[in-house]
Structures are given as structure tokens and as C-alpha cells.
């Protein structure tokens, strides 16, 4: 009970990388549509999910992010033809690397959001916040 309460009160910090053309626009649409979601996410805009360097993600986790969310255009829909596929490849590698480093790979999530999916974006933030709350604070935060 005690532990559950702590988890409920824990306010995680989640970093979300959004691509300019799809997922950032999806996040904007969630706003224009007034779909509410928790305040825990901080968005970083890049032009393409293909720009997201593994070091951005590893640094974020090392500096204490409780969760990192990578979003981009749906497969086949990339504004830059195939940047999202490159990110997907890195994601598979990163998941593996996080396990090896002793960081719960569940802290990292990849989802495709189109410019028209405001509702999906809001739902994703709600769900991710809930999941990260369950995981508890990033143990690297204190160090």
C-alpha cells in the first residue's frame, strides 16, 4: 500500500523527441483539439526521428530522465523517405544496450504518430506517464 502510494505521488520527468512533420504536429493537434494529458512530458523537436542520436537518449537517461519517448512518422510516411526506419534500427540496439547497462529498457519507448493523430498522442502520453510511474524514479537520478 505504502509503495503504491509513493508511486502514485511520484511525478516522473519524461522526454519526448518529436519529428517536425508528423509527431510534433500530432502533439500540436492534441493541443488544438484540447485533449488533456499529464504535464510530465517535455518535448524536444527535431526535423526527423532519423536525427535522434543514441547519445541523446543515453545522456537523457544518465542525467535522470525517468522515461524517454521517441516518436516519428509512421513507416512509409517519413518526410525524409526513410529516417524513421533508421531510428527503428537504433531503437532495437538501444533496448538491448539499456538491458546490458542495467537500465530498465521499459523506460524507452518508440511510437509512430501522424500529424492527424492528436488523440493518439494524448493517449500515448497518458499511458507512458502511467507506465513510468509504475517503474518508479530513474535510479540514476541521485548519482
Amino acid at each position: 500500500m505504502e509503495e503504491a502510494k509513493v508511486r502514485e505521488e511520484f511525478e516522473p520527468v519524461i522526454l519526448a523527441f518529436c519529428c517536425n512533420w508528423c509527431s510534433y504536429a500530432g502533439a500540436d493537434l492534441a493541443g488544438t483539439s484540447r485533449f488533456e494529458y499529464p504535464t510530465n512530458v517535455r518535448i524536444i523537436r527535431v526535423m526527423c526521428s532519423g536525427r535522434i542520436d543514441p547519445t541523446f537518449i543515453l545522456s537523457a537517461l544518465a542525467w535522470g530522465a525517468d522515461g524517454v519517448l521517441i516518436t516519428g512518422c509512421h513507416p512509409g510516411d517519413c518526410h525524409y523517405v526513410q529516417g524513421n526506419y533508421m531510428m527503428e534500427r537504433r531503437f532495437a540496439f538501444l533496448k538491448e544496450a539499456l538491458s546490458q547497462l542495467g537500465i530498465d529498457p521499459e523506460r524507452l519507448r518508440l511510437e509512430w504518430i501522424s500529424a492527424g493523430e492528436g488523440e493518439k498522442f494524448a493517449a500515448l502520453i497518458r499511458d507512458t506517464t502511467q507506465r513510468i510511474k509504475q517503474l518508479g524514479p530513474n535510479p540514476l537520478k541521485a548519482t
Binding site: L15, N20, Y24, G31, T32, G50, D53, H79, M86
Partner: protein, 592 residues
């Protein structure tokens, strides 16, 4: 960081009450003032107003600011406006940054004002961290050749070619078929005016072929496209003969094709009196239907809108039919189809129905539909068909109508009435399938050559569905007609003229500046592994003497090469590692 010390100005917008009602803006201003490198901060009711922009310019002068942040709405709409205000005040517009505290804060946290205010502070802090690392950029200037290539000689391609030629530009019009005209050559009459297609087609073909500025190249394929906006080198092939042309802009008007169902779908190809709407149009033109048919049944959305089977409420249907209905729905899931509405098929069916009724008033025509989509003036056209006693019957689309032969040479269509849920058996002489316009098979090859993405529907994708409908994400390449999705004749003409206007704007200016969002290779660090050359979708990297180089005009600025480079030798300008990492750090640490 630039040479001079950053002096950041932060302008926080109330957006009327859109932000101010939720976020405590004065508190955010106070917070911003205390952040490192911030020399000035203020709030505005509307930063985007005349007064707001004037206030930015005044503050730049008075406080000697060299970086500007506006914390307001999304950069996707307002960034260009603020950037130009910076330019006017003498600050390079790459030293401007936006913090999105409306779409991504006040509007989504309307009921959590305290948390929203904290988040707004975090967003501003992240923007300040990034702005500290921003650097001025020079936008490269390119020469634009005053000639254009139009791919496709249908009505859209011909219209685009004529529009450009009228403005004085040289045009190469390439058509893979031996003659101009595209899909219109197969059509008999056009809705809703019921004009002969030739009335539109022949004058257009004549105007194109007699125009001195248009060079028409039929039976010709585009085999390769190199270069970039203003300087494309296009290889053309005609019966094995190669030729190269140099153009400044390209208009893609490759059109679409009418879907022909595979043999057996709705018994198409099994019985000779099952045809598509296009085939019926041809039969009518050639007078092949001599005997007045007793009844014609048309089936809408054959192969269209079949991406997902929608749930059907079975509760209301008579019990005896339910089991069969379920079995058929399950079967329908396997049916081949395209997910979108092709938007021309309803009008085509109505047109053909009226044409038949005019010739054979006694013929009974039943149109089985799921939805009738007739917009604008086409509503009158639909009413006209009803006046002709054409019967529109809504059937349960999820159940593919069954077609059997008999009695005699006739066919019988079995379908379910959507209102009663009951089975209908309709004996008829002809079954006509309304099939969608679908992308060309070769479109993928063309898309690869031009480096344009393809939409989920399989058509060439516009740069922005709403705001840039004829642009592509490749500068200097534009879309006309059904290349970007099903269009009828007027829509094709509109988009062709729009594409021609976009292309001629570039060519008339003779020069253009491109965004400085490009990658730069540090030759010292580069080991010449060639990974960047391999992964770049645009061919913007090339190796020379074991070092990679960027062709700035080809680089679209995605930054994938910077992320992939094993030696971190590639800098993605305006989204550098330092800039992104500063934002990451600021998001996580209050005192970053």
C-alpha cells in the same frame, strides 16, 4: 557558441487568454529573467500582433539582444513571422527560437494551472539553453534555370505545360504513351455538363502541339533525375534512344489508372455482361448496347474503401439471414481493395445511369451503394438522376453482393438491403462495377527517382495536405492532377494551374535561397567510411579522396547522417549535438 556573449531576449505571450488563463505568465517572465544569458524578458498580450513585433524590435535595440525567444504557440505556424521580425531588426533569423507553451502546454493542461506553469518554465528554460548554442546561418543562393519538365501528358500535364509556356518558359512535356490525353482518351462524356470529352481534349492537344515553347516528347520515359532545384538534369529514353535535358523545375502529372478488378471479384471476367463504369462508358460510345436492357445494377465502391471492415450491428436483422450475413462478412475481409474513397465513382455512376436513361428510358437502373458522396454542384446531378427514376439502394457493403447467371442469359445480384436487413434478388442484364482511381505501378520508381515520399494510399505525397497541396518536400518539384490522389477534370486543371504558378514563381525570380538546415562534414574527423553516402536518401553526400562532402542544395536537413556518423564528424546545422543536448540537460536539471 558564437563569438559574442549571448544576450537572450524572452517574449512570453498571453495569447489573449489562451495561455494566460492557465499559465501564470508574469511568474514565467520573472523566472526567465533569472536564467543564464537572459538579458531581457517581458510578456505580451499577443506577441504576434503589430505591437508585439514592434516590442521585440525595440527591445533588441535597447537591450542589445542577440538571441530571441518567443514563448507562445507552435513554430509550425508562427515561426516565419517572428523570424522576419528578427531579420528586420538586424538579427540573423537562425538566432530565433520558439517555446511552445500553448499547443503543448496551456491547451492540454487547462485544469492543472500550477503544473502547467511549472511546465511552461521548463519549456522556456529548455529554449534558453538551446538559444545559447544557436549560430547565425547563411542561406545558400541558387540559380534557377528558366525551363520546366512536365511528366505526363494527360489533362493536368497539358494544362500545366500550357500555363508555363504562356508565361514564357520553355517546357518539355513527356508522355509515355504514343499520344497525349491520358485517361480522357478513354472517356466518352464528362459529368456534370455531359460534354463530349473531345470538346476539351482536342483543343488542349492542339494548343500543346502547336505551341512553340512546348516540346512534346511522346513514347518517352524519364529514366533518371539528377541535380536539385533550379538545376535538374533529366535523362529521357525513347525506344532505347537516350537524351538529357536540363530544367529548373519539374511538374509531376503522371495521373492515376482506373482499377480493374481481378478475375472473379464480383464475377468480373467470368460473365461478359459484368463491366466497369469505364467499360460501360466505352460500350455506350461505340453503340455496343443495341437492345434496351430491362435492368442494370451498378455496384459502388468495388475495390475502394475496403481497407477496414467496419462493425455491422447485427441485432436488428431478421434471424434467418443473420448466419449467412456473418459468414459473408468474414469472407469480405479478404476482399482486395484500396482503403480510400476515390471520389469520382459516385458521379461516374450517376453520369452513366443518366446516359443509359436518356437512350433507354424504360431501363430500370439500381445503384447499390454504401454512401453516396456528391458534393457541391454534384448534388443537383444526383437529383437529376433521381428525376430519371434511377434507384439508389443502400446495401450492406460488408457483404459482397453475389452474382449468379440466370435466368437464361441474365444475371442475378443477391445483396442485403441496409434498411431492412433483408436479402434482395435482382435479375438484370448488366452489372456495372464502380471502381476507384489507383496509383500507377511505375509511380514507386518515379517517386524513388524524384525522392518524393509516397502517401499511405500509394500516391505521391504533397509537402502539406492543407497548406502546401501542390508542393512536394523536394524544392522545385510540384504535383498536378491525380498524381497526388483521385481527381476529376476540373480539380486536375486547378491543381495543374496551381503547380504551374508555383514553378513559375521560382523561375521568374531566377534565384532562390534554400534553408540553411544542412549537414557539414568536418574533414579532420572524417575517416571516409562512406556510411553517410550510403544512408542519405537524397544523394547529398559523396566521397572524394576518402573524405565525405555535402552538396548543400541536395541536403534536406533530416540529420540522419549526423546521428549515424561513427566519428561524429557531421554537424547538422541548427540541430547540432550541442543544441539538442543542451535542451535535454535543461529539461532534466533546474540549474543546467
Amino acid at each position: 557558441m558564437g563569438e559574442e556573449e549571448p544576450r537572450i531576449g524572452v517574449f512570453i505571450c498571453h495569447c489573449g487568454i489562451n495561455i494566460g488563463k492557465v499559465v501564470n505568465v508574469p511568474e514565467v517572465v520573472k523566472y526567465a529573467k533569472a536564467l543564464p544569458n537572459v538579458a531581457y524578458a517581458e510578456d505580451n498580450i499577443y506577441t504576434c500582433s503589430e505591437a508585439g513585433l514592434a516590442s521585440i524590435k525595440k527591445a533588441i535595440e535597447e537591450h542589445n539582444l542577440n538571441r530571441i525567444i518567443v514563448a507562445s504557440c507552435t513554430p509550425r505556424t508562427h515561426e516565419p513571422l517572428f523570424r522576419s521580425a528578427c531579420r528586420e531588426a538586424g538579427i540573423n533569423h537562425y538566432l530565433f527560437e520558439m517555446a511552445n507553451i500553448r499547443e503543448q502546454c496551456s491547451w492540454v493542461h487547462a485544469h492543472q494551472p500550477e503544473k502547467a506553469t511549472k511546465k511552461a518554465k521548463d519549456i522556456v528554460r529548455m529554449a534558453v539553453a538551446r538559444a545559447t548554442w544557436l549560430e547565425p546561418q547563411e542561406e545558400p543562393e541558387l540559380d534557377i534555370k528558366d525551363s520546366a519538365l512536365v511528366i505526363g501528358g494527360g489533362i493536368a500535364g497539358m494544362t500545366a505545360a500550357l500555363t508555363l509556356a504562356d508565361q514564357g518558359f520553355k517546357v518539355y512535356l513527356v508522355e509515355k504513351e504514343p499520344g497525349l490525353g491520358g485517361n480522357l482518351r478513354r472517356l466518352h462524356k464528362l459529368y456534370p455538363t455531359m460534354q463530349d470529352t473531345s470538346e476539351i481534349l482536342e483543343p488542349a492537344v492542339k494548343a500543346v502541339t502547336t505551341n512553340k515553347r512546348i516540346e512534346t516528347l511522346t513514347s518517352t520515359l524519364v529514366s533518371d533525375v539528377k541535380g536539385y532545384v533550379g538545376n535538374f538534369k533529366v535523362s529521357l529514353a525513347k525506344n532505347g534512344e537516350k537524351r538529357e535535358v536540363e530544367v529548373g523545375t519539374i511538374i509531376v502529372a503522371c495521373g492515376a489508372v482506373n482499377y480493374t478488378p481481378p478475375k472473379g471479384l464480383h464475377q468480373y471476367g467470368v460473365f461478359p455482361n459484368i463491366v466497369t463504369q469505364l467499360e460501360l462508358d466505352e460500350l455506350l460510345r461505340n453503340g455496343k448496347i443495341e437492345k434496351p436492357p430491362e435492368r442494370i445494377v451498378m455496384i459502388q465502391c468495388v475495390g475502394a474503401r475496403k481497407g477496414e471492415i467496419r462493425a455491422v450491428d447485427l441485432a436488428g436483422f431478421p434471424k434467418s439471414d443473420t448466419a449467412r450475413l456473418l459468414a459473408k462478412i468474414l469472407k469480405a475481409k479478404k476482399e482486395e481493395g484500396w482503403p480510400y474513397c476515390s471520389k469520382i465513382c459516385c458521379m461516374n455512376a450517376i453520369k452513366n445511369a443518366i446516359l443509359v436513361k436518356e437512350k433507354f428510358p424504360e431501363t430500370d437502373i439500381i445503384i447499390l451503394y454504401g454512401d453516396v458522396r456528391v458534393y457541391k454542384e454534384y448534388e443537383d446531378f444526383y437529383s437529376e438522376a433521381r428525376e430519371h427514376q434511377v434507384k439508389f439502394v443502400k446495401h450492406i457493403e460488408e457483404v459482397t453482393p453475389e452474382i449468379t447467371q440466370g435466368p437464361g442469359q441474365k444475371l442475378t445480384v443477391t445483396a442485403y438491403d441496409a434498411l431492412s436487413g433483408r436479402e434482395m434478388q435482382l435479375p438484370c442484364d448488366w452489372v456495372v462495377l464502380s471502381t476507384p482511381l489507383i496509383p500507377h505501378k511505375e509511380e514507386v520508381i518515379l517517386a524513388r527517382m524524384l525522392k518524393i515520399p509516397i502517401s499511405p494510399d500509394g500516391f505521391l505525397m504533397e509537402a502539406h495536405l492543407k497548406l502546401r497541396p501542390v508542393d512536394t518536400q523536394m524544392d522545385g518539384i510540384f504535383l498536378a492532377g491525380a498524381a497526388s490522389g483521385p481527381k476529376d477534370v476540373p480539380e486536375s486543371i486547378i491543381s495543374a494551374k496551381a503547380a504551374a504558378a508555383r514553378a513559375s514563381t521560382l523561375m521568374a525570380n531566377k534565384k532562390m535561397r534554400t534553408e540553411a538546415l544542412t549537414s557539414v562534414v568536418d574533414e579532420e574527423k572524417c575517416i571516409g567510411c562512406g556510411l553517410c553516402e550510403e544512408i542519405c536518401s537524397y544523394g547529398a553526400h559523396y566521397l572524394e579522396e576518402a573524405k565525405s562532402h555535402t552538396i548543400a542544395a541536395l541536403c534536406r536537413g533530416c540529420g540522419a547522417c549526423a546521428a549515424e556518423c561513427p566519428r561524429r564528424a557531421i554537424t547538422m546545422q541548427h540541430f547540432t549535438d550541442e543544441q539538442v543536448l543542451a535542451q535535454v540537460k535543461a529539461a532534466l536539471m533546474e540549474e543546467a
